[in-house]
Subunit: 221 residues, 4 copies
DNA sequence: GATGAATGAGCGTTCATTCAT
DNA sequence: TATGAATGAACGCTCATTCAT
C-alpha cells in the first residue's frame, strides 16, 4: 500500500533497449512539436522522464537522436503502406489501399509525419541524407504501382504512349498531393482515410486512365 | 581627394526604404540557404553590406525580419500567379497559365520558394501564422478557379454533384502535387514550366472533368 | 564629482587591440594558476573585467587563447635572453648574461614561466606545437652560444673532440638545469639572478672546458 | 557446464590486493597518455577490464587514484636509483650508477616518468603534496651523494669551500639536467643509459671537482 | 545615419560519482 | 564481489540583442 506512493515516480531502472525506445519516442514528440533546432535536449529528457546524460549515453548526440527518430518513423510508415498495398489484386486497388494506409498512418502518427516531411533544409548533411532516403522509400513504392498500372492499361491497348518517366512524374505529383492533403484532413476530421484516398484516386487515376485512352487536354494554340 | 580612399566601400548613405529592401533581400538569401534557426544575423548584415545594429534599427528583430521576407516572397509569387491567370478565358486555360507562372516563379526565385515552403514547423507562432497566411493566398486563387471550372461543367449538365468542398479538396491536392513537382523539376531541367503545367493538368483536370461526367472509380466491394 | 561613483566600474569601452592584450594577460594569470584544463574561461573573463563572449569574439577559443598566451610569454622571454646575450663578447660571457637574464625574467614573470614549462604534454596538437616552438626558441639561443664556446676552445687547442652533437647535449642539460634551478631560487630569495647564473656557469662551463682539455672522468672498469 | 559460457570473459573474482594493483597499472597508462584532467575514469576502468564502480570501491576517487599512481611510480623509481647507487664505492661512481639507472628506468617505464614529471603543478593540494614527496625522494638521494662527493674532495684538500647549500644547488641542477636529457634521449636512441650518464658526469662532476680545486670562472669586471 | 564594443541567457555535451541489484 | 543504470554540476561556445559614440 505504501509502495503505491512511489508508483508515480518509480524512477524505474529499465533495461537499455526499453529506455532507448522511450527516449526516441519522447524525442519524436518534442522534435515534431518544436522542430529540430528549437527542440532542446533538456525537454526531451524531461518528457522521457530521465536526466539529460542518459540521452547522450544511449543516443550519442542530438543529431544522432534525430536520425534515430527519422529511422523509427520511416520504418513504421513504410511498413504500414507496404502491408496495406500488398497482395495480388489489381494495381489501382493496391494503390488505393496503400494511400488509405498512408492517410491512416499520418492521422495516427502525426509526429512521425512531421518529422519526416517538414524539416528538410536546415539540417546537417547526414540528416538530410537520412530524410531523402526515407522519402525515397515511399516514393519507390508508389512509383512501382503507378508503373504497373500504366503497363496494365497499355497491355489492353497495345499503344504504350506513357513511359517510365511518366510514372515518375505521376508518382511525384501523387505523393505531393497526398502530402498536402494531410493538412486538408486536419480541417475535415469527419472524412475517413479511405474516403480521402478514394477522392484522390478519382482525381488522378481516372484522369491517367483517360489520358491513356487518348483523351488528352491541351491548351488552345 | 581623401574621399577616394573610401571609394572602394562607399558606405553609402541610403534612404531608409532602399536600405530596408536591401536588407530584406540579403536576409532572403541567408534564410533560404541556412534555414531560420541556423541563419545568423551577423551574416545577414554582412551580406547586406552594413552593420548589425542597422538591421535591428530597420527591421526590429530576427523574427520580424523573417516575417518581412515572407511577405516579400509571398507578394511576388502571388502577383506572378494572379497576373498570368488573369483574363477572360476559360478557367482551365487560366489555371494552366497560373500553374505555368508558378513553376516559372519557383525556378527563378528559388530563395523565395524555400522561405515559403520549407520552414513551417520550427518557427514561433507569429511566423507560422504568417506562413499560413502566405500559403492561403495562393491556395485561394487556385480554389477560386477550380470552383469556377466545376460550376462551368455543371452548368453544361445541370447536375451539380460537386460542391465547394470538392473544390477545396482538389485545390489542396493540386497545390500539394505542384509543390512536390518542384523537386521533380530539379532532376528534369529540360522540361519547361509550361510542359510541367500541362502534364499536371492532364493528370488532374481530365480526371475531374470525367468525374463530373459520371465516370467514377470505386474500389470493388 | 558624482562621476567618481562610476569610476570603480567604468565598464570601459576599449579599442580591440587594448582589450585583446588585457584578455591575454588575464588568461596568463589564470592558466598559470590553474593549468590549462582546470582553468575556466568564465574566470578569465572575470579577471579581465569583461564578459565571456568578448573572450571568444577576440581570441576565438580556449585553445587559441592559450596559444596566444604561449606566444606572448615566449616572445617576452626570448627577447629578454637575446637582448642580454647580445654583443661581441666571448660566448661564455654572453651565456652567463643570458642565463642571468633568464633567471631574472622567471623571478619577475612567474606566470609566463609556468605557462611555458609546467604544462602537461597532452594539450591538443596546435598547443603542443606552439609550446615546442617556444621551447626551441630558447634552446636555439643556448645551443648557439655553447657551440661557439666549444669552437673557440677548440681553436685554442686544435683538437676538436667535441662536435655539434655535444653542443646539443650540453644545451639540453643546461636548459634543464636552469629550469630546475628556478625552483631552487624560490627557497633562496637572497641569491641574485647573476649569482645563480654564475654558479651554474661554474658547474657546467668549467667542466666542459676541462673536458676539452682532456680531463675526462670515466668509471673504473 | 554453464560456467563454460562465461569462459571467454572469466570476470575473475580476484583478491582485493591484486585487483587494486591492476587498477593502478591501468590508471598509470591512461594518466600518462592523457594527463590528469583529460584522463577519464571510464577509460581507466575499461583498460583495467572492470566496471567503474570497482574503481571507486577500491581507490575512492580520481584524485586518490592518481595519488596511488604517483606512489607506485615514485617507489619503483627511487628503488631503481637507490639499488644502483648502493654500495661502498666512491660517491661519484655511485652517482654515475644512479644516473644510469635513472635513465634506464625512464626508458623502460615511460609512463611512470610522465606521471611524475610532466603533470601540471595545479592539481589539488593532496596530489601536489604527493608529487613533491616523490620528487624529494630522488632529490635526496642525489643530494646525499653530491654532498659526500664534496666532503671526500674537501677531505683531500682540507679547504671546505663548498658547503651543504652547494650540494643542494648541484643536486637541483643535476636532477633538472637529467630530467631534460630524457627528452634528448628520445631523439638519440643509439645512446645507452650509461653513456648518457657518463656525459652528464663529465659535464657536472668534472667542473665541480675543478671548482673545488680553485678553478673558478668569473665574469670580467 | 551608422557602427564598434559589449553582454545575458541559453544550449549541447561531458564527467566524476552513486544507487539498486 | 561486481555492475548496469542513472544523475548533478559544470564547461565551452554561440547568438540575438543593445549601448555608447
Amino acid at each position: 500500500m505504501l509502495t503505491r506512493l512511489t508508483v508515480e515516480k518509480p524512477r524505474r531502472r529499465l533495461p537499455r533497449s526499453v529506455r532507448e525506445r522511450e527516449i526516441v519516442e519522447a524525442a519524436l514528440r518534442v522534435f515534431a512539436q518544436r522542430g529540430y533546432h528549437a527542440a532542446v535536449v533538456d525537454e526531451i529528457a524531461e518528457v522521457a522522464g530521465i536526466s539529460k546524460p542518459m540521452v547522450y549515453l544511449y543516443l550519442g548526440s542530438k543529431e544522432e537522436l534525430f536520425a534515430a527518430c527519422i529511422r523509427h518513423a520511416s520504418a513504421a510508415m513504410t511498413a504500414a503502406f507496404r502491408q496495406a498495398a500488398d497482395g495480388g489484386d489489381a494495381p489501382e486497388l493496391r494503390l488505393w489501399r496503400g494511400l488509405s494506409a498512408f492517410f491512416g498512418f499520418v492521422a495516427e502518427h502525426r509526429d512521425s509525419w512531421v518529422i519526416l516531411h517538414r524539416q528538410a533544409p536546415q539540417l546537417g548533411a547526414a540528416i538530410t541524407e537520412e530524410l531523402a532516403r526515407a522519402r525515397d522509400a515511399v516514393m519507390d513504392e508508389v512509383r512501382g504501382l503507378v508503373w504497373r498500372g500504366i503497363a496494365d492499361a497499355d497491355a489492353d491497348e497495345g499503344e504504350g504512349r506513357l513511359g517510365q518517366e511518366d510514372a515518375d512524374f505521376v508518382a511525384q505529383a501523387l505523393v505531393g498531393a497526398a502530402d498536402s492533403l494531410t493538412d486538408w484532413m486536419e480541417t475535415h476530421p469527419e472524412e475517413s482515410s479511405e474516403r480521402v484516398a478514394l477522392r484522390l484516386m478519382n482525381m488522378v487515376w481516372v484522369g491517367m486512365r483517360d489520358v491513356l485512352d487518348g483523351e488528352v487536354w491541351t491548351p488552345p494554340a
